[in-house]
Subunit: 302 residues, 2 copies
DNA sequence: TCGCCGCGATAGCGTTCCGTTATGGATCTG
DNA sequence: CAGATCCATAACGGAACGCTATCGCGGCGA
């Protein structure tokens, strides 16, 4: 005979109430059933746990020593069950997300704030890392969701949503680029540009687009951080090209931005998850907030 | 459906081996049975614990988080079972004994040493207290066994063995009391005596015996500790009367002792336990050593 | 002192649960 | 494309469990 949680619960109840009859009614069980359960437990442990006669019930010394151990284990398991059921019932939980820094600083905080307004006990862990790290974190299941740039062709990953992150040109109010009908690569090539550092994915897109068009950008400056590039634009060093998702393009009140009407200046943004894995309920729910936010962000070209 | 240890074990095995088939053979179970058990557990927790398809099995995030908790609980319960079974199999255990100081210093250490020679993993807790405290400790089940003096007429207590503790007279080698055929109260009344303090149970017996005989002892000195009384005898202050069970009567090489042949100078020594309680296996076993030791000690009058 | 009452133990029976074999569907492999 | 492998499902048979009924024992009141 094997140890069984039901038997343990029975023993704890009887030991506590010091009565088979009362414990039985508490457990919604007949008294003979309890007698048998206690006997089974005692057989499993090969020890007498309760000294009992028709007049009184009391735990033996071994029973007294085992009681707190059993109680602790039961409490522990019960809280596991309750917590896990709560988790499933979407009452609380933690969503772990890896996202590109622009997304992590931009639409993600808004989406999280909005979601938490409706689900106060949900918590979030956000990792802002470059596209490649996003893929790795999702693949290793260190995060539930990932927002990354570029095409995703990994069979281990599922694309839950995709949107186009359009690069924007950022310019000082009154700059001639604000007056043209559509911002094209040709138009950009006319002006000195503040470009992102060669290491960045934004720069990679810009370079590729210029190469494809057979043109060369007029480089005024290079910057590693978007905020620096914006500062340079404000100072009149030139225009800069930043993802529409980046908050920095709206950081300066006297700067304006416009989407660049050029397919090569847009790159896919993918919301991904590990393929073949059940998404935690909390993450599943958060999708309802995040997917529309992604679509809205990139549809308006804001 | 309720949480069941078998299901938990099943989950831990499958999660560890990442295979239903292998876990099933490990658990001596059919694979479909395991499938059902995992489903039951998942239903109980209302959460998916394992992501599985025909090609691979991997715990979900929730499953991964629950795994260490389950493992700890299982290990804990398993060790409880093993320890308790060991206890029952008399392979180890602790015996708790309350005994009169004379017994605790005298025959008890020998009995324990002898018992531990045969059962090395048994351990002992000995409390040396006065008769009344012995009764209380046994009644409150703070000890398994008690060795006390006097008659025991408590329905809460069971007398497992009884013996007579004969008071001995202790005298210097060559003292005339060593020459008489039998040591009687009359003979003792002839000599100055070193008596125990009035608080002690030994003194109570001595006083009662002299009162009953209508005699008065010649009191040379009083001592609280038996060792002190023995020292006084060695110094020639008189004879003293000590329990035969007391080690002190043999502490001085040039002192002799003889039992007093007087019923009133003998008091019962009882080995007791709580009535209606199952004795722990270790204590039960120790009785096999202690009872003969008690009988031997008091039969020889040593 | 006798009979009643309350409590735990036991017996017999019915149901529920669980594990087994057989089989299906999906996926990787040669 | 056929075979092998692995998990899921279905149907069946047996074991386990809980229930009702009853017994034995000890305390208590008449």
């Amino acid at each position: 005979m094997d140890l069984n949680l039901r038997h343990v619960r029975a023993f704890v109840s009887v030991a506590h109430l010091r009565s088979f009859t009362r414990a039985a009614s508490l457990l919604n069980l007949s008294q003979p059933a309890l007698t048998v359960q206690i006997r089974r437990l005692e057989e499993a442990l090969a020890v007498r746990l309760l000294d009992r006669n028709s007049r009184s019930v009391a735990p033996t010394r071994v029973g007294r020593e085992l009681l707190p151990v059993f109680q602790r284990v039961l409490r522990e398991l019960d809280s596991v069950v309750v917590d896990t059921r709560d988790l499933a019932a979407r009452r609380h939980g933690t969503v772990r997300i890896a996202a590109l820094p622009s997304v992590a600083a931009g639409l993600l905080p808004d989406a999280i704030a909005s979601f938490r307004a409706a689900h106060p006990r949900m918590s979030f862990v956000v990792k802002d890392v470059i596209a490649e790290r996003v893929l790795a974190l999702v693949r290793r299941e260190e995060v539930d969701l990932g927002v990354t740039g570029g095409e995703v062709r990994d069979p281990d990953l599922t694309v839950l949503a995709r949107a186009a992150d359009t690069l924007h040109v950022v310019y000082p109010e009154g700059h001639p680029i604000g007056a043209v009908a559509t911002v094209t690569l040709e138009a950009l090539a006319e002006h000195p540009l503040v470009l992102m550092d060669a290491e960045t994915s934004v720069r990679a897109v810009v370079d590729a687009a210029f190469v494809a068009a057979g043109r060369l950008p007029v480089t005024a400056c290079e910057a590693t951080y978007m905020m620096t590039a914006v500062g340079m634009v404000r100072a009149g060093l030139g225009l800069t090209i930043l993802p529409g998702s980046a908050r920095e393009i709206r950081a300066e009140p006297d700067l304006r931005s416009r989407p660049i009407s050029e397919a090569s200046f847009s790159r896919p943004v993918c919301l991904i998850a590990k393929a073949g894995r059940t998404l935690p309920a909390a993450a599943e729910d958060f999708l309802g907030e995040l997917v529309p936010a992604l679509e809205a962000e990139f549809a308006t070209g804001a």
